[in-house]
């Protein structure tokens, strides 16, 4: 059987497929820029997915669902924040624990919500723009969260690049000691960044359970949080590149499924491995271009104590 792939439909669906990991990656990017390594993205995502689904299904409002997911993700992130910033626990171990905790919590909360249909999310109708040939379908006929994620890329970039608050956040991530000596509240900045990261991860998770899949199933995120973590490194901690990374990964995943469905005569095992292969390839190219691969914030994952 042979068919053909509609490139317009493909681009439209890759944007949907990439949105959850893009959101989670953006949040983690901000957290890491402040010097905090939170490996709990998967746990925060799935918590957002379940909390968002329950809120949306029981209230009938998809927006209440997204709101609850943002709060849920941020709340879980703050557990991590208190443990690592106030009680000075090890960030790597605490982050991994957060993932395990989040998966367990989501599974517990989600009992009884399996197989229930949640409210749908209408596409934004941009009137004549949505009716434009090709670009109308690709650019102007998505649900609002896709646009929100794109806007967020811009906002995070502008915040880090152009604002004083962004400068402080970066300073905290590069040298907490120096920022502290200058009188900046290191702990507060990091807690805020952690909460933002959790909120974004929660939103990404809810996008999975409310739009992309859309339903609640145990284990729904299936590793999306880990991919988001990898994309932050791939993006060398820059928002624009995070967008490229997420769309590349999501795009190739969707493309290979479509190629298979269309009956393309390309080895399937190559197609399935292609998202990972391309990611590695781009990583190699990027690191070759730079003199040193050291793009990471200097104080990443280092604990900070004001009296030390």
């Amino acid at each position: 059987m042979t068919g053909s792939i509609d490139p317009v439909l493909l681009v439209a669906s890759l944007m949907v497929a990439s949105t959850p990991i893009l959101l989670a990656a953006l949040g983690e990017l901000v957290a890491e820029r402040s010097g905090v390594l939170n490996l709990g993205v998967e746990g925060m995502m799935i918590t957002g997915a379940v909390v968002g689904f329950i809120a949306a299904a029981s209230s009938g409002s998809v927006w209440l669902g997204f709101g609850a997911a943002v709060l849920g993700g941020a709340a879980l992130a703050l557990v991590f924040g208190v443990l690592t910033q106030v009680l000075l626990s090890n960030q790597v171990a605490t982050g991994l624990a957060l993932t395990l905790f989040g998966l367990g919590l989501a599974s517990l909360l989600g009992q009884g919500w399996v197989g229930i249909k949640g409210p749908g999310l209408a596409r934004v109708d941009l009137g004549p723009l949505s009716d434009l040939p090709v670009v109308g379908r690709v650019l102007f006929s998505h649900d609002p969260v896709v646009y929100l994620s794109l806007l967020l890329v811009l906002l995070v970039w502008a915040f880090l690049r152009l604002t004083r608050a962004g400068l402080i956040l970066r300073a905290v991530g590069e040298s907490a000691e120096a920022a502290h000596a200058l009188g900046y509240p290191v702990r507060a900045v990091r807690l805020a960044a952690i909460a933002f990261g959790g909120a974004c991860a929660g939103l990404g998770g809810a996008y999975l359970s409310l739009v992309r899949v859309p339903q609640w199933t145990d284990g729904l995120t299936a590793g999306a949080g880990w991919i988001a973590l990898a994309i932050v490194v791939f993006a060398s901690w820059r928002p624009g590149r995070a967008l490229v990374g997420a769309y590349l990964f999501g795009g190739i995943t969707v493309l290979q499924l479509n190629l298979q469905a269309a009956g393309a005569r390309i080895p399937v095992e190559l197609l399935s491995a292609s998202p990972y292969l391309v990611t590695i390839l781009v990583l190699v190219v990027i690191s070759r271009r730079r003199e040193r691969g050291g793009d990471a914030p200097a104080d990443l994952a280092r604990p900070f104590h004001a009296s030390a």
């Binding site: 059987m1 399996v114 197989g115 249909k117 499924l257 479509n258 469905a261 009956g263």
Partner: protein
Amino acid sequence: MTLKALLAGTIALGLAVPAFAQDDKTKVGFVYVGPIGDGGWTYQHDQGRLAVEEEFGDAVETVYQENVPEGADAERVITQMALGGADIIFTTSFGYMDPTNNVAEKFPDVKFEHATGFKREHPNVATYDARFYEGRAVLGTLAGHLTESNKIGYIASFPIPEVIQGINSTYLHAAKVNPDVEMSVVWAYTWFDPAKEADAAKALIDQGVDVILQHTDSTAPHAAAQEANANGAKIYTFGQASDMSAFAPMPRVASIIDDWSPYYIERVRAVMDGTWEQGASWGGMPEGEVVIGEITDVVPAEAKAEAEAMIEAITAGEYHPFTGPINKQDGSEWLADGEVAEDGELLGMDFYVEGITGDIPN
């Protein structure tokens, strides 16, 4: 003196351990590849575990671990269960085959049961599987009747014999009732990833497929079809591993259900009686291990009757889904007219039957 007391305590404890292990409870372990709430494969195995508990009550204790990756981690989990005093351990996914055999070598007194595998390297390893292709013959028949675009889609997991049997059985029976039917197979390379399964279903729908069958475990393809139907499409799906009746009557119109309870109860009883022996079990509809869930009224009456007649014939042992004449994909003869496939050949199946396009990844 404290040291002495400590030593004495340790020795006492050490002596006490075998005594604990010999208490009258039979400890039964289960290793799951997905979460028990997946609504599919792992859910059904866990139903089997609950059936064991119900059957034997206080005489058994069951333990399980979910979401165990198929690889080095599995070996660690199985080892831990064996160290934890399990008398019999069921490892419920194909990828646990080598880890199960590796651990079995180190624990000769523990019985191991590996689902869907073929390696029994030690006398304490048995394998069990179910003849899912029997159920898929029924679903294929329904699919052939239901499709209006004459395009059906199949979301496959990994290219292993069990999955290939399912693809071939589905296609053969769909083509039998609808010679114009075409089938696209999408390999997801996962047993459980709702987002990817949903994307695969959407890709198939974009290609004009109107019946979707799946050999992956989540209900996501049903949700995707449900959404497409809400937007004016008419897509049919089938429950996989468990009933998935939450999506009935549409898009889910029937289902193939794995019922492991009879087997688990029988094997645990054998351990208790001391009659457990290594074996390779391959039950199907006659044994009650493969069950077809309710066929909804969306299905035309004559198609439903045909499917029910097939269920009866298979259960009675009068019909084998792989009965010749069947050719291989390249046109060469596989089974002559009236010839029935041998089990050994099915268990190693690595080819498509005639009419399916595309290649099997290897």
